[in-house]
Amino acid sequence: MSVSIQNNNIQVTDSSNVVIFDTSTPMPHITNVITNTINHTFPNTTHSTSTNYGVTWNACSYFEFTSNYEYICNNEYVCNWECTYSYYDGFSCSNVCGWQNVCGYEYVSSWGWFTGNGEDSATRGIAQSSDNGTVYTIGSVDTGLDPDFLLVEATFSRTTSGGQVDFGTFVSSLKTGSKVIANGSTVVETAFAQDGDPWLTRLVSVYLDGDDVKAEFKHSNKEYTSLTVNYGTCCPNPRGYSCNPGSSFPATRDISSVWSVSFKIYVGKFTI
């Protein structure tokens, strides 16, 4: 152990000759411990759908009473009295029979099955791109203190979980209810697309802004079209009216999440 005061420098070493203090190497110290709980809702984005329409031949069957005024021709055995007149014989009539094609308009009605084409839809959900952020003040330090660093301990709680139809609930690797080491910025939620890039990321950053310790909750997602396809089909009215094939379930899902974060911030400064 030694204490050396020379050349305008003060140095202390321990019994292993390791320097534990030297006025030429400033020491960090904790000036404040700030605690606060911030609640934040990452908002939903705008959703839309993209639908392709098509036709499936003979997809629809109908059993229907039909009636029509139709021009019908039948080969019928017809007998007619036919009379002839001659000067010598006078009138002579006979019943003349034979097969004839007889045509005419008739009102025809019946019950029966027939098929028609179905109208189809294939719908994908689209989450529109969005960026947003909210800054909260966790606490403040004395004016003029000018801190040099923050050490952050945070206890996270997710009370509402956003998600997406393809991947389900957004992934968060934060152990909720535990004291997470959360210095600087922490990724609270993420979702990756199949190309390997994230399409949604959410951060909580703790930083110093003047005399205030602040937390920024920041969200960003690029446009995402679902892999999930919701198919719909319908059979139009036999009279020729079209139908509107909907989808059996939503192709989109609310992406909003609600977080509560309890911060414990160690505010620090170096001696000169």
Binding site: M1, V3, N9, I10, V12, T13, S15, I20, T23, T25, P26, M27, P28, H29, I30, T31, V141, D142, T143, L145, P147, D148, F149, L151, E153, D166, F167, G168, T169, V171, S173, L174, K175, S178, V180, I181, A182, N183, G184, S185, V187, T190, F192, A193, D195, G196, D197, P198, W199, T201, Y207, L208, S220, K222, L227, V229, K269, F270, T271, I272
Partner: protein, 245 residues
């Protein structure tokens, strides 16, 4: 002016080192926020001391994707997810303490994705209990299996000396030194500023940003450790203050 060590055995045992003249001694007895910027040491301050350093390599197991069914056309898998906890190390502090964590040699942001195979991903965060430091893993798989991966975690746990003990303003023996009622003592391993190859960095700034759905990570050493290809922001991060123990 000269650096002056002042120990006052009568007035609360205040011990401090300042750069000034003897006439200024009383000015720093109870320092204001502005005075702190002029002190090399003061027994009123709560110094950051290393409590423990834990380093271990965690074997994260393979996470096999589920190929049993198809959720949507042209795919042959079902989304799976799960989580697990792995022990990084034990400590004896009895309470959760401030800490700095490293992942494979870089200061890490919690929630960091350590593995990504065609959208199947594994991300981690570190948390501290009263007796342990653990890594929490969350994984999700799509069409690809996540192979087993080994990740080295290093955690610096800190004490900060918020209260003095005893009544000794200044003590020197052949084997020990103590000042300010134990605040400055050879019993502790203090952290000190180090510009060259420091053990870690302390920062007051953000260490990541998001844009266009993507992520960019810039730890306090100022180097970018991750930037997704779709990130289109302008975040450049900052370099904190290097510190050695």
């Amino acid at each position: 002016m000269a650096k002056t060590l002042h120990a006052d055995g009568n007035s609360g045992g205040h011990t401090y080192i300042f750069n000034g003249t003897a006439s200024e001694v009383s000015s720093y007895s109870t320092p204001t926020a502005t005075d702190i910027g002029k002190l090399y040491f003061h027994s009123n301050l709560s110094y950051l001391a290393e409590s423990q350093v834990i380093e271990t390599t965690v074997a994260h197991p393979q996470r096999t994707h589920n190929s049993s069914s198809s959720k949507w056309s042209s795919t042959t898998y079902t989304v799976t997810n799960g989580n697990a906890e792995h022990l990084v190390g034990s400590h004896t502090k009895g309470v959760a303490v401030p800490a700095i964590a490293f992942l494979n040699g870089s200061q890490m942001s919690s929630g960091h994705t350590v593995q990504n195979v065609s959208g199947s991903l594994r991300s981690v965060s570190l948390f501290v209990t009263s007796t342990e430091v653990k890594v929490y893993e969350e994984f999700v798989t799509f069409q690809s299996t996540l192979p087993a991966i080994s990740v080295t975690y290093k955690v610096f746990l800190f004490d900060y000396l918020s209260s003095a003990s005893g009544n000794v303003a200044l003590s020197m023996t052949p084997t020990s030194f103590s000042a300010g009622f134990g605040k400055l003592s050879t019993s502790y391993k203090y952290t000190r500023r180090q510009s060259t190859s420091p053990d870690f960095y302390l920062s007051k700034d953000k260490t990541a940003d998001v844009a266009n759905g993507g992520l960019k990570l810039v730890p306090p050493d100022g180097t970018t450790t991750y930037e997704s290809s779709n990130y289109n922001g302008s975040f450049s991060g900052s370099t904190g203050t290097g510190v050695d123990i």
